[in-house]
């Protein structure tokens, strides 16, 4: 009987597999890929796979941009990269401090993590809290997720990664510090969460005015492909214009509400332009934006 229980227990333990993200690498250039995150909010069903992650294969190594929401996600990104190349992931860039972009860090034991100063500070200061919050939302999926802090603070406009040069823009608006990476070799712009492609913008830490300024700056870059933080990669400038429109709409709507003494629900009832309403996740994000931004006013 005891043996039987042990066998059952053994089966139960060994069959308790990690969440399967079923990740796919979408090729953008000969050496460049991105993994498309679902346009959804964190849920047990998606395991927190809600943000885009990109990687670039260089002559000697792989540069990974963001690492997703969990240790399991990071591990599966690692496996996916191993299917494409034998080169190791040596460099990881964290674009900003939101939990869907850096909590896969600790799956890459031998990689050096880069970010700008503010992001590094936030990860160190609030990382554990982010994990706690995601455990509440994702449960078991978060197993093994630990904070792996930033090793090197980026300060310069350019950096050479094993002979592969990348250009950095230190911008803000989505958070107090958003890192945008421009790869001249492939003419791809990795825009971080400053750009959402037809997906309602997340404004929890946003400064609307600064965000619009950053987007106007990005519009001047003559990229072939832009990889947004959320939504599909794209070629033209239309998503940037739509994002600007969305942010300006939020700003004028809040100002109108404030001027006329409207409460958040009256503001939420105001008419919204069709192209903005068509964004994915509009219902959830718009309500969240109006509530959070009204509180800040």
């Amino acid at each position: 009987m005891r043996v039987f229980i042990l066998i059952i227990a053994f089966i139960a333990v060994t069959s308790a597999k990690d969440f399967d993200y079923n990740l796919k690498a979408i090729q953008l250039a000969k050496n460049s890929y991105y993994i498309y995150g679902k346009e959804e909010y964190f849920s047990i069903q998606n395991g927190g796979d809600i943000a885009n992650v990109s990687f670039i294969e260089t002559n000697k190594s792989v540069i990974l941009i963001d690492t997703g929401s969990s240790f399991a996600y990071g591990n599966q990104v690692k496996r996916l990269i191993e299917e494409k190349t034998k080169k190791p992931v040596k460099h990881i860039i964290n674009t900003h401090h939101h939990s869907d972009h850096f909590l896969g860090n600790n799956a890459f034991k031998n990689a050096t993590i880069y970010s700008d100063k503010f992001t590094a500070k936030e990860i160190k200061k609030n990382g554990e809290l982010y994990i706690k919050n995601l455990v509440a939302l994702l449960g078991e999926t978060m197993k093994g997720t630990k904070i792996k802090n930033v090793d090197i603070i980026l300060q310069n406009d350019n950096k050479d990664f094993d002979g592969y040069k990348l250009h950095f823009f230190y911008l803000k608006g989505h958070t107090k510090s958003d890192l945008v990476i421009y790869d001249k070799n492939t003419n791809i712009l990795y825009a971080s969460d400053l750009v959402f492609n037809n997906r309602a913008l997340a404004t929890i830490d946003a400064n609307l005015k600064e965000w619009v300024n950053s987007l106007n700056l990005l519009k001047k870059i003559d990229y072939d492909i832009c990889v947004p933080g959320h939504g599909k990669a794209f070629k033209d400038k239309t998503p940037l214009d739509l994002d600007i429109k969305y942010l300006n709409f939020l700003k004028t709507t809040l100002e109108y509400g404030n001027k006329n003494g409207l409460n958040v629900f009256e503001i939420l009832d105001l008419k919204v332009p069709k192209e903005i309403k068509n964004f994915s996740m509009f219902e959830e994000e718009y309500e969240r934006s109006i509530i959070n931004l009204s509180n800040k006013q």
């Binding site: 003494g261 009204s294 509180n295």
Partner: protein, 248 residues
């Protein structure tokens, strides 16, 4: 005799039918008894509109809006949340105020919120709505009480008045930590009374408030009382008194 008995049974059954709680919770009856004892009540979502977010992301600042204008000559409006450790939110005397209020509250977990409105015949109308949230709002210490500027900012606020046809909307906000006292080491410290007056010292309403209201609270009240200037007199549990005046 039998007919009377049948009628009584029928009436009793129909009252029960009407009295069906739209969002049942194990706490509701206890809280109701504590607040309105054995006074008569009906569930009345038709005449009481309660608005809450579809999902309350930030449990520390959950906006709520209650509109019971359809109940004419309402006398009193009380709000409470069944599953909050501090159930009561606000208790408004409506002598010269409309049964409308908007404010932000903290929620500890997903909870029904109730609006109790007393009509002129002494019957309580109860409106219900559910607030979906992961919660955690009541057991978190106030952020502003950690603010080094607290002493300088405490009680600073603003008040604006908006006229809409025959009603005046009084919108105000004030810097106050609204400490619940539920966090170990933090004593309760919150605004517990608001008096709305005109500049001619006519009291429009006296309102009791509780620490389930979010820090740096913001309130909107409505009145038909015509005056150029409204004054809000806010008292807290430490005996402070703050004055906000709409007079520019």
């Amino acid at each position: 005799m039998l007919r009377v008995l049948l009628l009584i049974i029928f009436l009793f059954a129909s009252i029960n039918l009407y009295a069906k709680n739209p969002i049942s919770s194990p706490n509701f009856d206890d809280i109701r008894k504590e607040i309105i004892a054995d006074e008569k009540y009906v569930f009345d979502d038709k005449n009481i509109l309660i608005k809450v977010p579809k999902f309350a992301d930030n449990p520390l600042q959950v906006p709520i809006f209650v509109d019971a204008k359809k109940i004419k000559n309402a006398k009193r409006l009380i709000l409470f949340a069944d599953f909050n450790p501090i159930t009561k939110i606000i208790d408004m005397d409506l002598e010269k105020l409309l049964p409308i209020v908007s404010l932000n509250i903290k929620v500890a977990q997903e909870t029904p919120i109730r609006a109790l409105v007393l009509d002129k015949n002494g019957l309580w109308h109860i409106g219900s709505e559910n607030i979906k949230s992961f919660g955690g709002g009541c057991s978190v210490g106030s952020l502003s009480s950690l603010n080094e500027e607290l002493k300088k900012l405490l009680g600073k606020g603003k008040i604006s008045v908006y006229k809409n046809n025959t009603t005046f909307k009084i919108k105000s906000s004030i810097f106050h930590p609204m400490e619940t006292g539920l966090v170990f080491g933090n004593e309760e410290f919150y605004i517990n009374k608001i008096r709305i007056k005109t500049d001619k010292n006519i009291v429009l309403s006296t309102i009791k408030t509780y620490s389930s209201i979010s820090e740096n609270p913001r309130f909107t009240f409505e009145t038909k009382e015509e005056t150029k200037n409204f004054i809000l007199e806010l008292h807290d549990t430490s005996g402070n008194e703050f004055l906000l005046s709409s007079k520019k």
